[in-house]
Symmetry: C2
Amino acid sequence: MKRNVYLDTVDLEEAEKILRSQFIKPLYEESEVISVFNCLGRITKEPIFATISNPHYNASAMDGIALKAESTYGAHERNEVILCEGADFMYVDTGDYIDQRFNAVLMIEDVIPKGEGQIGTIKSVYPWENVRVVGEDIACGDMILTSNYRITPVDIGALISGGVLELEVYKLKTVGIIPTGTEIVNPGESLKPGVIIDSNSRVFESMVKETNGIPNRYDPVPDEIDKLRKAILKSVEENDITVINAGSSAGSEDYTVSLIRELGDVYIHGIAIKPGKPTIIGKIAGKPVIGIPGYPVSAYIAFKTFVLPLLNPNLAKKEDVKIEVTLSKRIVSALKHEEIVRMKVGKVGEKRIATPLNRGAGATMSLVNADGLLRIPKASEGYEAGAIVEVELLKPVDLIDRSLVSIGSHDILMDYLNDFMSKARDGYTVSSAHVGSLGGIMAVRKGETHIAPTHLLDEETGLYNMGFINKYLKGEKIHLLKGIKRWQGFYVNKGNPKNIKEIKDLFDKDVLFANRQRGSGTRVLLDYILKKEKYESRLINGYDTELTTHTSVALSVLSGNSDVGLGIQSVANLMGLEFIPVALEDYDFIIPHEYINDPRVQYFLEKIQNTEFINHLKSIGGYELEGFHMSTIEVGGT
Amino acid sequence: MKRNVYLDTVDLEEAEKILRSQFIKPLYEESEVISVFNCLGRITKEPIFATISNPHYNASAMDGIALKAESTYGAHERNEVILCEGADFMYVDTGDYIDQRFNAVLMIEDVIPKGEGQIGTIKSVYPWENVRVVGEDIACGDMILTSNYRITPVDIGALISGGVLELEVYKLKTVGIIPTGTEIVNPGESLKPGVIIDSNSRVFESMVKETNGIPNRYDPVPDEIDKLRKAILKSVEENDITVINAGSSAGSEDYTVSLIRELGDVYIHGIAIKPGKPTIIGKIAGKPVIGIPGYPVSAYIAFKTFVLPLLNPNLAKKEDVKIEVTLSKRIVSALKHEEIVRMKVGKVGEKRIATPLNRGAGATMSLVNADGLLRIPKASEGYEAGAIVEVELLKPVDLIDRSLVSIGSHDILMDYLNDFMSKARDGYTVSSAHVGSLGGIMAVRKGETHIAPTHLLDEETGLYNMGFINKYLKGEKIHLLKGIKRWQGFYVNKGNPKNIKEIKDLFDKDVLFANRQRGSGTRVLLDYILKKEKYESRLINGYDTELTTHTSVALSVLSGNSDVGLGIQSVANLMGLEFIPVALEDYDFIIPHEYINDPRVQYFLEKIQNTEFINHLKSIGGYELEGFHMSTIEVGGT
C-alpha cells in the first residue's frame, strides 16, 4: 500500500486533521490492567463502574443517638419525648453504623440525659436526617469514569471508595527521538566552529515525560543516508512514535523526507505555521514518523503541535488556558501562515500588557522568557499596538501577575535584583524588557511599566535624565530614585592589543568599533562626548553597526568581531575584558506616581536598597553607591 | 524550646503565614548537584549562568555567500558588483561558520553566477546582516535562570545551549503519610459495617507525585496512643514533612493534637475554612507535622492548601488559573469561615454557567465532577443567582468549553452517552446536572442549558411533556426530540418478599416506600396514578422520604432501608433488583432554538441516534426505541 500523498504546505488545521485521522486510532489499541494505586495520569480504555457503594452502610453523619425518626414526631418545647436506650435508641459517633432498626440520628446537643438509660428530647428529626445512607456518594454500579479519561488524584480516591482495585488503561506511548545532522554533537563535547550542541532532543525528552509518555532518545546520526535509514528503522521497531529532528544545515530535511517516502508514506511536508514550517508528517509500518525542524524555537512549536497531541487522545490541553492582554506594540505577520509569537506579559495597573519577544527561530532564551504564546491567524496581517488579544499561558498567571515590570535600559544589576527577589521567596520577580532608556521613558508615558531604569545624559546641561523627563513626560507626576552610579568605558581584549586609551583612538584606521543603538543611554553618552570634543562620528569604523546590549558589545570584542566598544564596567569584569574608564553616569529609576504604592514597586524599593544586595553589587565592581534618595516630580507643560 | 502556641481557629491567611514563616526556610536548605538531563521540575538553589555563548561562533543564518558587507556597498540595479571566490567571498549554508575575514551573508537568491569563481550582485548588505553573531541568543556569563526557579522543558534547552551540564537544585521533599483511625482498613480488605476504606492516603500520594515530591505512605494506625506516637516519630525521622490523616470518628483528632503537643509544638488547631476546619499545624524536631481531617473533601482541600505549598517554595500555583462564571443558583455561606465550593461549569451561549455541586464533606464524586472551586470569603454570606464570580480551574478550560450541558431528569443513558462520546475522541463530553425534569425546563427558560431531558406527564391530558412546555416556556422557540420510551415500575428485592404487584400494595402497613423528590418526572407519574385511582398519598408509609435519583431509590431497596420504590427498569437491571412494570413513558429532550446549531448539540443529536449506541441501550434493557423525530415548537403566550 504505497501512497505518496505528498501535500505541499498545508494549513495547520488540515495537518491536525490528518494527524488525528491517521494515527490516534492505531495508537490507542493496546491496553493493560494496572493497580489503582499506580494509575495517576493514565487514560482509561473503558468506562469504570463502582463495585461497592460508598458509604457501604448507613453511617451516622453526627455524634448523637440513632433512633426511629417516627419516635420523635410531636416533640417540641412543651412536649418532651422520652426514649429508652436499646429499645428506642443507641449512642453513635460520626461514621458509626446505624442498624436496621433505626433511620435517623438526633444530634448529641439535642439529647437531654434523664438517667437510668433514658433520655428526653424536644426536637424531632425526619427520616434519614443526619445519616449518610448507603450509596449517597457512590452507588454500586455507578459509572465513576468514562472511557478516554485521564486520571487525576481525586479520581483515585473515588475509584478506591467505589471498590475498584484494578483497572484497564491504555499502554503508555514510547517516543523515539533521533537527532540528526553531521554538525550535531552531544553536550559536553568539544566545540569547533560550525558544530551545534544537541539540545532539542533533551527538550523533547522532558516534554514527553511531562505528558506521561516514555522518551527513548538515540545518539545523533550524521547526514548519511544509510545510517539514518538504519536509525529510523530501529526507532520505528522499538517505539510507538518516531521523531526525527533535522539539523538546521541544508540537506538534513531532504534526507528525512526521502527516507520516510522510501520506507513508508509522507502525508505532509511543510505546514503553514511560523515557526515550524518544514515539519514532515509520515507513516512507517503503520506508526507515525514526524520530521521536526532544527532551529530550537521551530522544534519546540512543532513538537508541541504535532507530537504531544498523539500522547493525549482526548484533545484537551491544560496549557490551552488563555488570558486577554493588551499589546504594547504593533506586530506584523505575513498572510501566508499562522504565526506563533512568544510574548512577555506583565500586569500594570488593571491591564495585562504583552510585548513580543525576539521572533528568531534560534532564540532559545525567548522561550525561557516567554509568559505566553500569541497566535496570529493565517489570514491576519497582525495587530496594532493597543489591540486586545488572547495569549496561551506558558507560566502560572499568579507568577506573571506578581512580576515587577521594568522597561528601559539594560544593566545586569536587574538580573541580580531579580535573583535577589527570587531568593527571598515572597513570590515577587522582575520582568525586564531591554529597550533602551528612551524606550523606558515612552513606556512610562503610556502607563505600561512599573519602573523605567534610565541613564540619559542631557547634551545641553550635562545632567542625567532630568532633561529627557522634562521633554517627554510633560504633565506627568513621577518619582525618581537616584543613588546608583556606574562606570562607562572602553571594552578591549586582554593586553589592549590596539592600544586604545581615549576617544581619539577610535578614529585609527585599523580599529573596528562596536556601537550601541540609538536611544540607548550609552549611545547618547558617546554622541555627547563626540560632539563636545568636535569629532565627526561617521569617521569611526563600525559606527553604523548597532548592538542592543552591553553584553553583545562585550562579546563582539571578545570574539574579535570588533576591537573596542563602549559599555559598563560590571559586564567587562564578568566577561574578563579589560576596561578603560570614560565616564561615571547616573543609573536612575523613574516610577509613575500611579504605581508608587503598588506592592511590587514597594518591594522593589525595599530590595534595591537592601545592604546585602548593595554589597553584592560592590563585589561585582563598576558601581558607585552613594546613598539612595527619592524625589517627586510634577513635570510642567502638556 | 517548648512553646505551645495553641491558636483557636485562625483565619486562612494567618495559617498560611505561619506555615511559610515556620517551615519554608528550614525545608529549603539541602541541595544536590544533578545532571541537566534530569533536572525537569527541579528547583534551582542559586542562579545559573551560561558558561558558553550560543551561537558559540558567527553562524550563517541563510544559505548564500559570506563576504565583507563593505564590498557590496554601492551595488544597485545599474551597478553590479563583481566578487571573487576565496578572496572576496565563500559559499556558506545555514549554520556554517563565518570566518573572521567576513562580516555578512548575501542570500543565494541575490547571487548572480559569472563563472570562473566569480559572482555578481546588485544587492548590498549591512554589517552582520544574515549572520547569527556569537552570543546573539545566550552570552557567556548571562544569568539563564534565577534561584528558586522550577525548571521546565524549554529551560533545559537553554541550559544545554549555555554550556550547563550540571546544576545545583534543592533536594526533593519526602512526605510521610500516616492514615489513622481504628475504623480505617486498606482497600480490598473485607467490609464490615462501620469500617472505612482508606482512600485519602492514596489521593495524597498522587498529589505529592504531581507536585514533584516523594510520598511515603504508611499502613493505617489504629486509635491507640502508643502506636500513633511510634508511627509519628518514625515518619518524622524518615521524612521532611509528616501528614497525619485523622479518621472521621470521634477522638482521632484529639490523639493527633495531643501527640504533636507532647513531641513538639502545635501552632494551629482549627482554621476558618470549610471544608477543612479541623486541620492541625505543628512542628516536631524542626519539621512540619500536619494533621488533616478525615472526610475526603476536607482532606483534599486541607492537603492542597497546607501541604502542597511546602513542596513549592516560589508560591506560584499552576492551578490558580481563574475564569469568570455566572452562578445558576444562589449560594449561601456562613460568615465565620472561608468556604470552598466545588462547581460544575459549562459554556452555554456566550456565558460560562456555574452550579454548585454537593457540598457534603464526604462526597468524593463531587471532587471528580468538579470543574473548579469557588472561594466564598469569610466576610461574605454568599452570592445571588446570576452573580459573576471567579472560579479556580481544576480541569482544562478547553475540556469544559467542549462539554454539552444537560440539565434535567436523571437517566443512566446520559452516562452511557457521555462514555460513547468520549470513546469517539472528538473532544466532546456531556456535563449532566440531575435536577429533575421541571428543573430542566426552568434551565431552558433561563437559557442555561443546551438540552433538557424531561419526562413530565400532564395530569389532564395524560400526554408527556407538552403540557409543561406550554405552561412554563411561553413565548419560547424550542425543539423537541422524541424517540426514547422507558419502563417505569416497582423495584423490589429478589423473590419480591413483600409481594408487591400493584399500586394498592403500597398501602400495606408493613410496606416501606422510597419516594422521589417533587418536580421529578417519576414523582409526577406516581402522583398522577394515585390521583387517577383516587388513593390518598399520605397513607403510604415513607411517602415523605424524598430521594433524588433512580439509583438512590434502588439502593434504598437493595440495602433494606425500604421495601419498594418506583423507578426506571434499566437501573433495576443493572443493580440486580426485580422489576414490576407500571407504565411506559416518553423520555424527551428539549433543545432551545438558540442552541440548535451549536456544534455540541449537533454532535449530541448525531450520537444519540447512532445505531451502535441504540443497540447498547437495548442490551441494558428497559427502553423502547421507536425511531427518533424532532419537532420545532413556538410556544404561544408570554
